[in-house]
Amino acid sequence: MSPTTRKEPRRIKDMSLPSEQVAHVEPQDLVPLPPPYDKLEEQPRFKPLSDDSRAKLEASLDDTLCIGCPKPASKEEEERLIQAFISGLHKLFTKENNWTFLQPLTLSMEHCARCQTCVDDCPVYEESGKNEVYRPTYRSEILRRLYFKYVKPGLPGFQTFQNGGIELNWTLISRLLELSYRCTLCRRCAQSCPIGVDNGLITHEIRKLFSSEMGLTAKDLHEKGTVQQLAVGSSTGMIPVVVKDNIEFIDEDMTDRTGIKVETKWDVEGAEVLLLHNAGEILAWPDNPGCFALLLDAAGISWTMSSDLVGYDGVNYGLFYDDVQLARIAYRHFEIAKKLKVKKIVMGECGHESKALGVIADRVFQGIPRETAMTLMADIVFSGRIKFDPSRNDFPVTLHDPCNLARAMGVIEPQRKVLRYLAPRFREMHPHGVRNYCCGGGSGFAIMSQFNFQDWRLQINGRRKFRQILEAFQDTDLTSNDPKYVCAPCSNCKGQIRDLFDYYGAKEKSGLHYGGLVELVVNAMVDLKEPFINWEIM
């Protein structure tokens, strides 16, 4: 593709026209990173898709693949897929089939004034060098034109004039499938819309159509995600005996390192708190569940974990692509809490878990309150029950706001209150709170690296966050590896931030480390013989 054409406005109708590739981004299109990451030649190379992938899979959208839908084997199969798409499109707009989001979806379809205010708020669009196809309204406009053509056609003859025409064919559908996995569902665009049109929701609904009606979705979210979670108990594949063994290891490790006896409680009936972690924490960031166990005991709270299938994994990837899977998992969480007769569920440091249990599946959890770990921690820290020495956190700390906690739920202040007290060198990123930027791993991207998707999510999706982190530490020496801490109270965000730091060598180059909030709280506890954070093992 010639470099002069790559940023030309892409008309919607181009999406239906067969071509090798609609969008292309060159390294020099990307927003430059600040020093010491500013030399293009030192940056990782974007691996091209293999010829084999291009030959077998639908890869005509851009430089990468997330879903990698196989090309239809015959004209008949292609026709069947098109019909399934049209059927799913109709279902999206009926109450019986879309009991969750019909109203905001319809409002977003009918009321967008095309003012494009949201466009400059999208980090993917901005960081890609403003590539047209990543514009949040571009994707929505495709669905909107299909809506006005198939679901709510106007007067014959006026249709194209009123709402813009569109040709529905397999080329368009296969590109729309991939395009629905280029947005992280961060909903910054929805935040900035003057009338509340939700382009993030539209992306979500497109994914839902593909998943429910055509079985097309990301393997990591569905087959290895929700399906595995419902079958064996966790998206990580941990069965109860493994999770208990791992937690025992964490308890012993914490006890050794802190000198305080740590013992996780299992299946305690009538406990005040059912603690529900993202199970990924146990495998990848064990200090996090270990610190929760220590802190809750120190605060005198009666708590328990559940060893029932699904009861030890708070993730609910259904949130990202399929309401039915979402409801199945949420209902399991509800049943377990009810069986244990706990007073409330506390969601560990996981953004999407908090949103799924706290907001989206609200009606499932009749009579069982849910609380995020942020408010619980703020209550504990300021309860006076535990003595702290903030000088133990004497290193630069910044805070990443997980989109699902901050923008979707409005949980902004508790984590800051804690950091302002316990991290003397805390500094904000800008912007933050409800105006934060996504880590770039949102909507499950952080766990995806198939084909060359990792290059895409780290070079384009996560670029804004990486720049923001570097900017937050501008007053420090970014060429020295003196430790700096990015507090990211969300498993998915931590995975993405870890990958960003690995990718750009930021730990070695700039001393950038990351972790959760509870680790900083425990690190400042006077009862610990010495600070607990160990930069070597992070």
């Binding site: 995600g225 966790s234 964490i250 990924g280 495998l283 990848a284 766990i447 690296s449 198939q450 093992i537």
Partner: protein, 105 residues
């Protein structure tokens, strides 16, 4: 799913390059997969990590906690990265013939 061929080795791999049929793993396969992970020479230290992962996987059906891997092999996380530049999950597990770790890890 794709076929990965190197020398005498011919195996099925997923979109991330992890083995689709982990039971077909052997040392020759490990050497072939190592070459895709910028591991040019499988030293004794590399094998120690790979064999631990392999044994744990055969026992429990998933990859171990990273912290356990470090403790049991005696290597720090940094040393694991020095051995396997893509890290314990994406690099070492792949060479040890485990399927790609799943969930938010």
């Amino acid at each position: 799913m794709a076929t990965f061929e190197r020398g005498n080795v011919k195996i099925e791999v997923d979109e991330d390059g992890f083995m689709a049929e982990p039971e077909k793993w052997n040392e020759e396969v490990a050497l072939a997969l190592a070459s895709t992970e910028n591991v040019m020479d499988m030293t004794e230290a590399h094998w120690k990590v790979a064999n631990y992962l392999r044994n744990y996987y055969q026992q429990f059906g998933i990859a171990p906690m990273i912290r356990k891997l470090c403790k049991e092999t005696g290597f720090s996380l940094k040393e694991i990265y020095d051995l396997y530049p893509s890290g314990p999950a994406k690099g070492a597990c792949k060479v040890a013939g485990l399927p790609k770790p799943t969930g938010c890890v």
